[in-house]
């Protein structure tokens, strides 16, 4: 008896996947609209973040839920990280080796400089950009499809805050797993870079393995980034998923937004933390 939800062949303008129709409007109206939407979106994100923190401290969790999510995050991304970070390590050492040879002919500090850069920034940021893609999209897709199938409404009917039930386990798992995966990804990049340095520039491993430039500032900044990215990705993606509207198309849009916005969150946090770190820990 249930009527079909969508006609088999949507009308012609359905070929345009973007929800908004181009309507002739003034630039001022457009900008105003964008601003209002931006403010509303930001308030929504802030609300999800607050509730995530609140329920992380306050809520009770069934055993194994967080562990399951942690496994999911790791399982999804280990292979992807290995490939991308391996190539990044090789590219960076190759590129900076070429440049450094022009300025200073000796490459003994190549490994030490690279290690410092990895710890301060690159390991965390590049791995997190990848995790934003892989993990963020997954979170938004899962939560978004629960929204459009009314499962989230059903949770709310049973007195459950969807943020507590859906976002918090992923948040806790992500904070831990992002740290672990960043460490892993950093190691892959470091050793792939070492192999390149040896093969291309003839830098011996004992010269390359040099942690002399590493100091407490680098490590603190790196750890701060691990925690901040690990927290931001599930919150931003969970918010995208919870804002999904409409049918499967809505889930698609939420997924795309999760990738874009969590990558953007990583970039913005990177600037903030790097800037603060630069001021706090003068070289």
């Amino acid at each position: 008896m249930a009527p079909p939800v969508a006609p088999a062949t949507p009308p012609d303008d359905a070929l345009d996947g973007d929800a908004e129709r181009p309507r002739p409007r003034g630039l001022a109206a457009d900008t105003g609209q964008l601003l209002i939407e931006g403010v509303r979106a930001f308030r929504g994100l802030f609300d999800v973040a607050l509730r995530t923190v609140y329920w992380s401290l306050k809520g009770r969790r069934e055993k194994g839920v967080v562990l399951e999510q942690a496994f999911e995050i790791g399982n999804k991304s280990v292979f992807f990280l290995t490939v991308t970070q391996g190539f990044i390590g090789m590219i960076l050492v190759f590129q900076s080796g070429l440049q450094a040879r022009r300025v200073v002919p000796d490459l003994t500090m190549l490994g030490a400089t690279f290690l410092e850069l990895l710890v301060r920034d690159l390991a965390a940021t590049l791995a997190s950009m990848m995790l934003a893609t892989r993990v963020g999209a997954g979170i938004a897709a899962e939560i978004g499809s629960m929204v459009v199938t009314e499962q989230v409404d059903a949770l709310r009917m049973c007195g459950v805050d969807p943020v507590d039930w859906l976002v918090v386990p992923r948040f806790l798992a992500s904070v831990v797993m992002t740290g672990v995966l960043i460490f892993y990804a950093g190691a892959i990049a470091y050793f792939a870079g070492g192999a390149t340095a040896w093969a291309v520039f003839d830098v011996q491993p004992q010269t390359y393995l040099n942690a002399r430039l590493l100091d407490i500032g680098d490590v603190s900044i790196g750890l701060a980034k691990c925690v901040a990215y690990g927290a931001a990705i599930p919150i931003v993606s969970g918010w995208c998923g919870l804002s999904a509207r409409g049918g499967s198309e809505g889930v698609g849009i939420a997924t795309t937004q999760a990738v874009v916005f969590s990558s953007l969150a990583v970039i913005i946090l990177n600037l903030v933390i790097s800037g603060v770190g630069f001021v706090l820990f003068p070289v």
Partner: protein, 251 residues
Amino acid sequence: MPPRRVIELRGITKRFVDGPPVLRGVDLTVPRGCLYGLVGPGAAGKSVLLKLVVGLLRPDAGALLIEGEDITGLDELRLHRVRARIGMLFQNNALFDHMTVGENIAFPLRRAGVTDAAALAERVADRLRMVSLPGFEDRMPAGLSGGQKKRIGVARATALKADIVLYDEPAAGLDPVTSQKIFDTLRAEQREAGATVVMVSSDIERLLTITDRVGMLHRGRLIFDGTTAEALASRDPRVDQFVHGKTDGPL
């Protein structure tokens, strides 16, 4: 003496961003112990109305009272207290895909504080018998037919023995025999418990065999509200056409 009006909508208006208003000033009262049938053509706003009643959506204007308490502006935490007294079947069933059928039905009970495993299992088995699906506890929702999912949804909605139950299409996708059986069972249980029920269904003929009162939504307005007998005898051509399923008429 508790208030006689269990659900009361006063001038409820709702519109979504970028769309025409879905509900335009709906007034509706459901008295205690009444089985209220809500009908109307597709996209009339029936599902939206049910979600407004439990605070899953918020009205743009108007007031909403549950047992005399104004819930229009309540925050989510206070709404939980109100919702704990209400059972709801969603049009898409909204079964949790990551839980078995048994866990789905037990979920509202657990959240209401029932922890005794034997009592939970007993209640789940009872609900499954009610919808003629005994022994389905360990199946996953993904492996069920459309009609079976619907029936599990009904079982979950009634798990709590709530005072107020809202059903969105309890018989959609069911064969005539099963759907009549579901209607009859829900009516019998509602009578026995003295519960207040709002039921949305497009199976008008069967629905009208069990309702006390009927309301018809059309283009966002409640164009009819009265007893079942009044509905069947209504002179309003739109109600007449809809209730008797005629193809020619104003709709």
